[in-house]
C-alpha cells in the first residue's frame, strides 16, 4: 500500500513511504503550521480592511506572546514542553478576535496574559479551554465597542485618504457615514443595528411598523450584501474577512484538520437556532413560547436577508472554521461531538439574538469546551468488534 520507487535514482529516499491513503500531515508541527497558514488569510484580509492599525494589533499580540514564552522557558523547566507553534496560533486567534479599535498596548498585554494562562493551565492539550479565546473575550469586555462611534478604522499609510477610497471596487461605503479625520468613519455596528431592530420588531413581527423598521435597517443602517461578504464593515480584525475564512477553511478541510461534517453540523444547528429561536432577549423575557420562531413572521425576503446578515456579521464562520479546527476543541467520540455541536450551535444562535456583548459563536464554543471530557465519558464510543469478544 505504499508508494515505492522503482528507480535507482531514488536512492536518497526511504523505500517505504507514507501510505497514500493518509493524505494528512503526520507531525504536530505540520498540524499547527497548516492552521497558521489558514488563519493568516483572514488576518491579511483584516489588515486590508482596517489598515496598519490591524497589522500592529496582530504584531504586538504575537510578539508579546512569543517573548513571554521565551522568558518562561528561561525561567522554568516546565515551559520547555510548550510548543511555539501553539502559542503563535493562540496569539493569532486572540488578535483575530480583537476589536479593531483595541489599543496596541492592550493587545500586547493580552498576549502576555494568554501565554501565562496556557502555562498555568498545563500546556496545550491538557486544558480544555483555549486560553487565546478566553483572553479575547476578556479583552472584548474590557475594551468594548462603542455602538455608533467611529468604528471602521483605516490607516492612510496603507490605503490613502479614506474619503478617496469610495471609488475602489469592493469598498462601497454607505453614503450616510460621517468622516472624522482621515482614517475613520462613523458606522454603527451591524450587531448593534440588528439587535436594536429585532428588539423593536419582536413584539409584532408581522406588523407594518416592523416592516418599516426592517426596511430602514437593511436599507440605510446596515452595509449592502457585497460589502458584508467582502468584510467592508466594522468588526473584529480577523472575523470580517469572510472570503479569507472560507478559503482557509477549504485548506484546512483538504488537510483533514477541519472535519467538514463538524463544520456543516455546527452551521446547521446555528441556522436551526436562528430559525426557531427568539428574535430578541426582550421577547424571550416577556413571552417565552410566543417569542420562539419569530423570524417566520417576517416577510420571506427579509427573513432570508436577516439570516445572511447575521451569519456574516457575527463570528459564526470564523468560529466554525478555526475553533473547530483547533485540536482540543471537540470531544473525541462521535456521539459526544454531535451533542457538543448541537448545544454550541443553539447557544451561539441564542447569544446572537440576545445581543451578548461578546462574539456569540466563540463564547458558545468556549462555554462548551469544559464539558467535552464529560460528554466523552457519558457518550463513549463502543467498538463493534469489542461486542463480539
Amino acid at each position: 500500500m505504499t508508494s515505492i520507487s522503482t528507480t535507482e535514482s531514488a536512492s536518497s529516499a526511504n523505500m517505504v513511504h507514507r501510505p497514500p491513503f493518509l493524505n494528512w500531515p503526520v507531525a504536530r508541527r505540520e498540524f499547527y503550521q497548516s492552521i497558521m497558514i489558514a488563519l493568516s488569510l483572514p488576518l491579511l484580509w483584516g489588515i486590508g480592511i482596517f489598515g496598519v492599525r490591524a497589522l500592529l494589533i496582530i504584531f504586538s499580540t504575537v510578539l508579546a506572546a512569543v517573548l513571554t514564552q521565551v522568558v518562561l522557558r528561561r525561567v522554568t523547566r516546565r515551559c520547555a514542553w510548550m510548543p511555539f507553534n501553539h502559542t503563535i496560533i493562540s496569539a493569532m486567534m486572540l488578535a483575530a478576535l480583537s476589536p479593531e479599535s483595541c489599543p496596541i498596548w492592550l493587545s500586547a498585554a493580552a498576549g502576555v496574559v494568554m501565554t501565562g494562562l496556557i502555562f498555568l493551565a498545563g500546556l496545550p492539550g491538557r486544558h480544555r479551554v483555549h486560553a487565546g479565546l478566553l483572553v479575547a473575550l476578556l479583552l472584548s469586555l474590557a475594551v468594548g465597542q462603542s455602538q455608533s462611534g467611529p468604528i471602521l478604522i483605516r490607516d492612510t499609510l496603507l490605503v490613502g485618504h479614506l474619503t478617496r477610497t469610495v471609488t475602489l471596487g469592493h469598498y462601497r461605503w454607505p453614503r450616510h457615514t460621517t468622516v472624522r479625520g482621515n482614517d475613520a468613519v462613523t458606522l454603527p455596528m451591524p450587531d448593534y443595528v440588528l439587535s436594536r431592530t429585532l428588539r423593536r420588531v419582536s413584539d409584532r413581527p408581522a406588523s407594518q411598523k416592523a416592516h418599516n423598521e426592517l426596511n430602514n435597517a437593511f436599507g440605510a443602517l446596515l452595509p449592502p450584501p457585497p460589502a458584508l461578504f467582502l468584510g467592508a464593515m466594522p468588526g473584529r480584525v480577523g472575523v470580517v474577512g469572510v472570503l479569507g475564512i472560507l478559503i482557509g477553511g477549504l485548506m484546512l478541510g483538504y488537510r483533514n484538520i477541519l472535519n467538514p461534517a463538524a463544520w456543516g453540523m455546527f452551521i446547521f444547528f446555528v441556522l436551526l437556532g436562528l430559525l426557531f429561536g427568539p428574535l430578541s432577549a426582550h421577547a424571550l423575557h416577556h413571552e417565552f413560547w410566543q417569542s420562539l420562531g419569530g423570524i417566520w413572521y417576517l416577510p420571506p425576503e427579509r427573513a432570508i436577508y436577516l439570516l445572511y446578515v447575521e451569519l456574516f456579521t457575527g463570528d459564526f464562520l470564523f468560529a466554525s472554521v478555526f475553533l473547530l479546527a483547533m485540536p482540543g476543541t471537540l470531544p473525541l467520540n462521535p456521539r459526544a461531538r454531535w451533542v457538543f455541536l448541537l448545544a454550541a450551535g443553539l447557544l451561539a444562535a441564542l447569544f446572537s439574538r440576545i445581543a451578548l456583548p461578546l462574539p456569540p459563536a466563540t463564547t458558545a464554543i468556549l462555554m462548551m469546551m469544559p464539558l467535552a471530557p464529560w460528554l466523552d465519558s457519558i457518550l463513549p464510543r463502543r467498538s463493534w468488534l469489542g461486542d463480539q469478544r
Binding site: M1, I4, E8, P373, R381, W384
Partner: protein
C-alpha cells in the same frame, strides 16, 4: 500502489520443498485439519493456524460464506498479487479444495482494485467458482473481522456465529503447492524494500537468518535498520540474531531515523477517526498511562484492537498508542486466564 516495474520474471522460482508425505487429498473437515496440521504446511504459519482455528470453531455447522482474501495484513505488501503471479493454478486448486471441504458455500474472492492487472489470470480462472469483489482500500480491511463486516453490509457480525470462513491467498498458494507436489513448504515469498534498490521478492527459507536472506538477495544490510512487516504495524528486527518466520511478509532496510519525542496528546481525534474497529485509542492511552481520574474509555475495548497501527502512525504527538493498547490487552487477557484457570500462564 505497488511497484509498476514488478514483473513475474523478477520473482525467482520456488526452491524444492521437503520430502513428500503420503497423505491423500482431504475430503472432509477432519481430514483437512490433519492435512493442515501435519502434512501440508508448517503449523507455525499464522494464517494456516487461523484457518485451523476457524475449522475448529465452526465444527460441523454449515459455512455460509467462504471469503478468499487477496488483501494483505501488511500495508506495504502486495502479497496477493505476488501469489497470483507465482502460481494461479495452485491457488485455484486450493480454493476448490477448501470449497469442497466446506460443502461448496458461496465463495467471494476479495482483491484490491489496484492489483487487478496482476491478478488478471487468477480472476479469469476463479471467476467460474467465485464472486469477485474489488475493494479500493486494502488496509486494514484484510483483517478477518473487518473483512467479515465489510462483506456483510457493514453489520457487526461474528464470523464464527455467521459461519464465515476467510482464507488468504498465501495460504491458498502454499496449500495448492502442497497438493500439487505432495510436499511440505519450507519457504515463503518475502518482499524486500531497501534504499537504493528496486523492490524484489525472494523465496526465504523459514528459520534462516534474516541477514543471510538479504545477502541472498544481493543486498548488504550493513548498518541499517531492518523492519519486518512495514512501518505501520511492523517490528524492528535485530539483524544479528533475527531468524526468518512464517509471519514475515516484508523486510525493509533503511537508515536509522532520527527519533521523534512523544509529547502530550493534543486531542486532535485523528486516532479515533482512523480506527477501523471504532475504539478510542487516545482515551485508552490516557487511562493506561496517565491514570486520569475520569475513565474515558472502557479498558475492555482494547480487546477489539487488531494491531493495525494506524493510530500510532498518524498521531501528531507521536504517542505509542498501539503499543499501549497492546500492553493493556495483554494485561486483561492475562487477568482473564488467571481468573479462569487460577494459575499464571
Amino acid at each position: 500502489m505497488g511497484p509498476p516495474g514488478w514483473k513475474l520474471s523478477a520473482i525467482p522460482p520456488a526452491p524444492a520443498d521437503n520430502a513428500p508425505p503420503s497423505l491423500e487429498r482431504p475430503t472432509n473437515r477432519l481430514e483437512m485439519l490433519a492435512y493442515l496440521n501435519n502434512i501440508a504446511l508448517q503449523p507455525t504459519h499464522p494464517q494456516i493456524r487461523a484457518l485451523v482455528a476457524q475449522i475448529n470453531a465452526i465444527g460441523d455447522r454449515q459455512v455460509s460464506k467462504l471469503i478468499i482474501s487477496g488483501l494483505s495484513l501488511v500495508p506495504e505488501s502486495r502479497i496477493g498479487a505476488i501469489c497470483a503471479q507465482l502460481d494461479a493454478e495452485a491457488i485455484v486448486a486450493a480454493i476448490e479444495l477448501i470449497a469442497q471441504v466446506f460443502s461448496s458455500p458461496p465463495t467471494l474472492l476479495v482483491f484490491d482494485r489496484s492489483d487487478r492487472r496482476d491478478l488478471r489470470s487468477l480472476l479469469r480462472m476463479a471467476r467460474k467458482r467465485c464472486r469477485l469483489l474489488g475493494l479500493v482500500t486494502r488496509y486494514p480491511a484484510a483483517h478477518p473481522a473487518v473483512l467479515a463486516r465489510i462483506t456483510s453490509g457493514c453489520r457487526a457480525v461474528d464470523p464464527v456465529d455467521e459461519g464465515i470462513v476467510s482464507v488468504d491467498l498465501l495460504s491458498c498458494l502454499l496449500l495448492g503447492r502442497a497438493l500439487q507436489n505432495r510436499a511440505r513448504s519450507s519457504h515463503r515469498p518475502v518482499q524486500i524494500f531497501t534504499t537504493g534498490h528496486v523492490p524484489r521478492v525472494i523465496w526465504a527459507a523459514i528459520g534462516a537468518p534474516v541477514h543471510d536472506i538479504f545477502l541472498q538477495a544481493g543486498i548488504d544490510p550493513g548498518a541499517m535498520q531492518c523492519i519486518a512487516n512495514g512501518m505501520l504495524a511492523g517490528r524492528e528486527l535485530n539483524l544479528s540474531t533475527a531468524l526468518m518466520q512464517w509471519d514475515i511478509e516484508t523486510l525493509a532496510l533503511r537508515p536509522f531515523p532520527k527519533l521523534e519525542v512523544a509529547v502530550d496528546c493534543i486531542r486532535c481525534g485523528w486516532c479515533v477517526q482512523s480506527c477501523p474497529t471504532a475504539i478510542n485509542p487516545a482515551a485508552l492511552y490516557a487511562s493506561q498511562r496517565l491514570h486520569e481520574g475520569v475513565a474515558l474509555a472502557d479498558r475492555r475495548d482494547s480487546l477489539a484492537c487488531i494491531d493495525c497501527g494506524l493510530c500510532s502512525y498518524i498521531c501528531p504527538s507521536r504517542l505509542p498508542l498501539s503499543a499501549s493498547i497492546a500492553e493493556m490487552r495483554n494485561q486483561i487477557e492475562f487477568n482473564l486466564v488467571s481468573a479462569a484457570g487460577g494459575s499464571s500462564i
